[in-house]
């Protein structure tokens, strides 16, 4: 009796994972095709010409760049320096020191000759108390806000209150932008007369690239397998996932590390909220607002402009990051759960939300079940062994082959990596993904879900080494 129940359970589990994998594979295949066409269309487009007009005239929409900093003493000077030299006609940089306990503020004051200013701040979003506002004597477009610690979202809200311009961009303190990144990311907003209310670029991994004075001098690969795997993972997420979603205005994520938002819309939506995944949560709220107002506004992703960011190179920190991301994902989806399958929210409710719930959020659980099924079947033996092989192959297609395809897609379109050996290396590494890296991330993400259930909050410490030399 128990034996047959056990077999039945095993078989249901196996078939469920099988059906799920087939469905997900088909879904990603579609996304892959859409992305491939979209990317290829722009293959070898002149890198400067499309943006020359924006750069040449005074009436290009000005931009406020917000840099929340909490204990970023190591990297902050480098990233601010890189922002002071970007190519954009009119912008301001606002660093928000979120009650750092290290010498972030002192370093900034000294490096940029900051002086306190008496400034009436227009409080459009509530934040923790702002202690002081500083202005640089060297660069009249650099401001620093010193405030009580309130978390990243609170820091961003304080930056929004202080900003002078109609669009703002949030940048992580430890990332480096390509010089023309803002021109590229603002172009769809300007071209659409503001119909595009948020636009995000790609995030890639800076480890292994040569960075001097806050600018990427040469692009390369890191030697550590753990970092190389993340490079592939980012390629896959951005090139295969986001292009497809963006094309149909289904995008629910604009990375917190590099995205431009319309200030008016964000304020109307209530600013950033205090949650682990504040960047995603805001975008969901913006989509909600669009649907409620019944307008045609869009949120887009542009593959070309790249923000280079430091990836964790130790298992410990990577695990924490993934755990946190997954909790953030859960939080954002949970807060807006009534949108799921709600026809009132159109394609966001009927496609985006289900995609993020069933593929992004539940995905690791299904993969975990798959791995368990395979292990158990191999141990038990008998009729399930062949089925286990089959499932394993599917998971290799999903884990490795799709990643390999993403690497090829990058080389077929954007070609950011200069050397032939880089591509060969990425390809070989992606082949190994299913055998070690993927299972690890699956475990970490499942762990994140468990933590949510056990109601664990907070960020966990993140170690920063600084990417700039």
């Amino acid at each position: 009796m128990w034996n047959s129940v056990w077999h039945l359970l095993l078989s249901i589990c196996g078939w469920a994972v099988f059906a799920y994998m087939i469905f997900v594979l088909c879904f990603y295949f579609m996304m892959f095709i859409i992305s491939a066409f979209q990317l290829r269309k722009q293959y070898q487009l002149n890198d400067e010409e499309p943006y020359e007009d924006l750069l040449a005239v005074s009436y290009t929409t000005p931009l406020s760049i917000l840099v929340p900093a909490y204990n970023e003493s190591v990297g902050i000077i480098g990233s601010v320096r890189s922002l002071l030299g970007i190519e954009y006609p009119e912008y301001e940089v606002i660093v928000v020191n979120d009650g750092s306990s290290d010498d972030t503020l002192e370093k900034l004051i000294e490096e940029f000759s900051l002086v306190k200013m008496n400034r009436v701040v227009r409080k459009q979003v509530e934040t923790k108390e702002v202690k002081a506002v500083y202005r640089s004597k060297l660069y009249d477009y650099l401001y620093v806000v010193d405030k009580q610690n309130g978390g990243k979202s609170d820091a961003l809200n304080a930056g929004i209150n202080l900003s002078n311009y109609p669009y703002f961009c949030s940048i992580d303190g430890d990332s480096v932008l390509e010089r023309d990144a803002f021109l590229k990311v603002m172009k769809p907003i300007i071209d659409s007369d503001g119909e595009v209310i948020a636009s995000g670029g790609s995030i890639r991994i800076a480890n292994g690239c040569k960075i001097e004075n806050g600018a990427v001098v040469s692009i390369g690969l890191d030697t550590q397998p753990l970092v190389v795997m993340q490079i592939i993972e980012y390629l896959r997420a951005f090139l295969m996932g986001r292009i497809g979603l963006s094309r149909h205005n289904l995008l629910l994520i604009v990375s917190g590390a590099f995205g431009v938002f319309s200030k008016r819309w964000v304020i109307e939506a209530g600013g950033y909220s205090h949650t682990v995944g504040e960047d995603m949560e805001l975008v969901v709220r913006l989509h909600r607002l669009i649907k409620q107002k019944k307008t045609n506004n869009q949120i887009v992703y542009i593959p070309d402009p790249v923000c280079w960011t430091e990836a964790p190179d130790e298992i410990k920190y990577l695990r924490r990051q993934r755990n946190r991301w997954h909790r953030g994902l859960f939080d954002s989806l949970w807060k807006h759960k009534e949108m799921l399958f709600n026809p009132r929210y159109g394609s966001i409710g009927m496609i985006s939300m289900p995609y993020f719930v069933f593929i992004e959020l539940i995905g690791p659980v299904m993969e975990m079940l798959g791995y368990l099924f395979i292990v158990i079947s191999l141990v038990v033996g008998g009729i399930y062994v062949e089925f286990a092989y089959l499932l394993f192959l599917l998971m290799v297609v999903y884990g490795s082959l799709y990643s390999m395809a993403a690497v090829l897609l990058e080389e077929w379109s954007l070609r950011k990596y200069p050397r032939v050996s880089d591509i060969a290396k990425l390809f070989v590494f992606s082949l190994t993904e299913s055998f070690w890296y993927r299972p690890l991330t699956v475990i970490w993400r499942c762990h994140g879900l468990l933590d949510v259930i056990r109601n664990k909050k907070g960020w966990g410490d993140m170690q920063r080494k600084g990417v700039s030399q």
Binding site: R40, K41, Q42, Y43, Q44, L45, N46, E49, P50, D53, L54, V57, S58, Y59, T60, M117, N118, R119, V120, R122, I190, D191, S192, D193, E386, F387, Y389, L390, L393, V396, V397, L401, M404, A405, L408, E411, W412, R415, P418, V420, I423, A424, F427
Partner: protein, 349 residues
Amino acid sequence: MAMSIQVVYVLFGGLLLLLVCFLSYLLIQKARLNAFRAKVESYKDSMKESLFIYLYRKDEEHRVEPKNKIELAGVEELLSSFSAAVQGDEILNNITLYAEKVFTPKYKKELHHSRWSVRMNALYAIEDFGLTTLTHQLVEMYEKKNSTAAEKNQILKILVKLNRPEFVVYMTNASRPLSEFMYRSLFGTMNSEQFQQFINKFEHLQEEIQLPLIDMIGINHKLEYIDFLKMHMKSSSEELRIRSLKSLNALSFPLRIEELTKHLQSGIWQERMMATKLIGKTRDEKGLSLLEQSLKDSHFLVRSNAAQSMMKIPTGKEYLVHVYKTTDDKFSKDMAAEWLEKGGVTVVE
């Protein structure tokens, strides 16, 4: 089951093989392209001087005749960097003549390429080099149904620069309106006759063309249109009024206080804000009491600009100190403090 799993193995193997084949193709491509780039760079280094001398002096001895793909790419890149860097009608004209001779067939072919980026790159080059030989193709391309908005915009820019008559109709009768930035950019590249053409038919234009036209008067400091702006600041359209005031402000034109009082009472904060800015430009002390009222405005930016404008009027600083000391209105006080401090006056509680 056994049968089906065999099929799956084969499928999997096939997929893997496909990826590996594609990888090999891309790697070979990459190696070839890297080698091609290296050759182009070395060709550019060797020809740079010669080409420059030819373009400057029309010295036939130094004329460069690209013979293959590498040389063509090299010359094109050199020419592009020259045309962006040099000034002077003569050399620019030489660049155009040379480019027309060497590149016309290439661009003509590329304008029909199936990939969007190739067509766009050709259009950018045609604009940069000022090629006049392909205008007929451009007009044809503009009229084509499946040309993208980006292509059409780029063609429009070229037609404006070459002063082809078609641009007026294309701009005013576009199937979907261009972006405000695009209209501004087009008005910005126009010569004064072209610009005047649009001013003449202003009343017949749609508002989305009228507004950027007014903006460009301010942005490009076209002082000859001040009366035109003064007329439209009385318009019944809110947006036209705001933009006219904005352009007058950009021109720093001192209006009379009486012309502005009505706008200070407007129900739209943007209009009130522009009016407070312009009162600062009058430098007329009569404006101070009006600005004091604006310091209590419900909108932050009106208050902020009122204080800023006071500082621009000769006795404004003293007036603002007075307001700071006497007012009960917290908003006014804060704002006065900020701008006094920016103007170098220290206020102590």
